[in-house]
Amino acid sequence: MAFLKVNNLKVYYPIRGGFFRRVVAHVKAVDDISFELNQGETYGLVGESGCGKTTTGRTIMGLIKATSGEVLFENQDLLKMNRRDFNQHRKDIQMIFQDPYSSLNPRKRVLDIVAEPLRNFERLSPAEEKKKVQFYLEKVGLNPEAIYNYPHEFSGGQRQRIGIARALTLKPKLIIADEPVSALDVSVQAQVLNFMQDIQKEFNLTYLFISHDLGIIQHMCDRIGIMYRGQFVEEGTSRDIYTNPQHIYTKRLISAIPDINPENRENQMKLRQEINSEYKNSYDKYFNAEGKVYNLKPISDTHLVALP
């Protein structure tokens, strides 16, 4: 049984045009995607800006309305739930946001920020609440005495950890991490990533990890889905994707990662040129007449590629 199953999810936005601003077409931000997450794993969603990865995450979270499709969480469709039921399930799904600055209300103290979900779902006395908040602050490696401070008194990495503490208070099962480290410096990035792995073990969390950084995705994820213009082009284990990419887009993406070894410089450039010419020459093999990719087809137990 899949823990989270997304079936044929579509998120379309209307484009209005013409003289009377009628809907003339749709932006297909997410165009018919299906994938599933197993409990305890980290699933990476990768792609370039505008590929629909963030929209996917936010739709599962209920922040964006889906056009059609199903999001089955523990076998119940989140999209068909009424507000109250959905809120109850919300406890189990939480989100870590990209920007550690805008995701914390600057006017609230750490205590009020971290306690916000508690106040919505649990009736605790102020003392209990404070204890719980301090417990989680300690968990994320922050001084539990700092509950009366305001967000601006913390650094970017620390703020990101406050955000994580807030997400943890309801003991979620699934955490959707939307580019959780892309606003941070390399060394701080490492800190947050390590830490996410620690709490994953401790709280048995499942991650939907959304990122544009293929290095980080490779480091963090068990399975990976590659998105391009709202669709999946390839899905597989980390090994499938990085050692045996099949779709031309995946190949392009991976060859574009700068190689950390300067000795490989020439090879890397050559490889990119080869892939670029392959991309140009065999475009029809990978994309249909509308420039869309084909449906995913399995090529092994774990590895799916969008080929005709």
Partner: protein, 340 residues
């Protein structure tokens, strides 16, 4: 390579006024760039790398900035030039590429006009000649339909295309030196690869010197000939790219390398540098500036006045602490937990 370096920065100190005091964001930096050489300056945000680039271009607001030292370029000290003289250098002999192509272009001017502007300032070309050269340039930076782009406004182009226009502006007058300040940071990976390839291509053709400012060691590995690592306003290590990537010495350089998630470290723990980058006001001004972040290394390993020393030919490292440096075992301690 001629014997005379193209650019020679000597003991540059760039200080900004905060309140009534000046704080050095770039502190005693010396660096040379030769013709046809790509020098990368790497560091995290706040290390002074961008401030260094802007100092060379003279783009810091004068009323809030103090510049000391020398920046020798083609036999003249840029810091002693008048604004008028400096304007003749900017855009003509030194070009600059900015980070964010979204904001680096004037939204109300066509791309063609923006590229032509530097020719207007520095040459007496006829408008027809300028137009021809601009279209040539657009072609050179890999824009598929230059005649069309010439007439387009920036918002009509994609991010990658805009960055190509920014590059065209920088190289419009065939500068001897190009300063690229995080030229690929705002771009997607595939676009980043294209822009890197383009820059390398252009450099191979024109033999210009490039100063590449970046925080991404991958970009450095792909582009640079020589690398300077900056921390807290100082250069802590300089070496050619192969040496530095094979044998990084300074604790900061080594820490940086260890904190990048890469194929070799899958599912392993990443290295975390303790503490955070000190702010401009709180920079340690004496001793080894990295000392606070490697506290397990004893005081006597550090120099009192750390200098940039040549430890092997053309490989310079600051402070002696690199000699007996080892990574800390206590990993969880990185959370700087229970402070103050």
């Amino acid at each position: 390579m001629s014997n005379q370096p193209l650019l020679q920065i000597q003991n540059l100190r760039t200080s900004f006024r905060i309140g009534d005091d000046y704080f050095a964001a770039v502190d005693d930096v010396s660096l040379t760039v030769n013709e046809n050489e790509v020098v990368a300056i790497v560091g995290e945000s706040g290390c002074g790398k961008s401030a260094l680039a802007m100092s060379i271009m003279g783009l810091h607001p004068q009323e809030r900035t103090k510049l000391e030292g020398k920046i020798n370029f083609k036999g003249k000290n840029l810091l002693s030039l008048s604004t008028n003289e400096m304007n003749k250098v900017r855009g003509k002999e030194i070009g600059m590429i900015f980070q964010d192509p979204l904001t680096a272009l004037n939204p109300l001017m066509t791309c063609g006009k923006q590229i032509e502007e530097s020719m207007t300032v520095h040459t007496n070309m006829s408008s027809e000649a300028k137009r021809k050269r601009t279209i040539e340039l657009l072609k050179k930076v890999g824009i598929p339909n230059p005649e069309r782009t010439y007439k387009q406004y920036p918002h009509e182009l994609s991010g990658g295309m805009r960055q190509r226009v920014v590059i065209a502006i920088a190289v419009a007058c065939d500068p001897l030196l190009v300063i690229a300040d995080e030229p690929t940071t705002a771009l997607d990976v595939t676009i980043q690869a294209q822009i890197m390839d383009l820059l390398k291509d252009l450099q191979n053709q024109t033999k210009t010197g490039i100063i590449l400012i970046t925080h991404d060691l991958g970009v450095v590995a792909e582009m640079a000939d020589r690398v300077a690592v900056m921390y807290a306003g100082e250069i802590v290590e300089i070496a050619d790219v192969h040496t530095l990537f094979k044998n990084p010495l300074h604790p900061y350089t080594r820490s940086l390398f260890n904190s990048i998630p890469s194929s070799t470290s899958t599912k392993d723990r990443l290295h975390v540098i303790q503490g955070i980058v000190p702010s401009l006001k709180n920079l340690p001004r004496s001793g080894c500036r990295f000392k606070d972040r490697i506290k397990w290394i004893g005081d006597k390993e550090h120099e009192v006045n750390p200098l940039l020393r040549e430890v092997s030919p053309n490989h310079y490292v600051r402070c002696t602490c690199y000699k007996n440096f080892h990574f800390s075992d206590e990993d969880v301690g990185d959370m700087n937990y229970g402070i103050s």
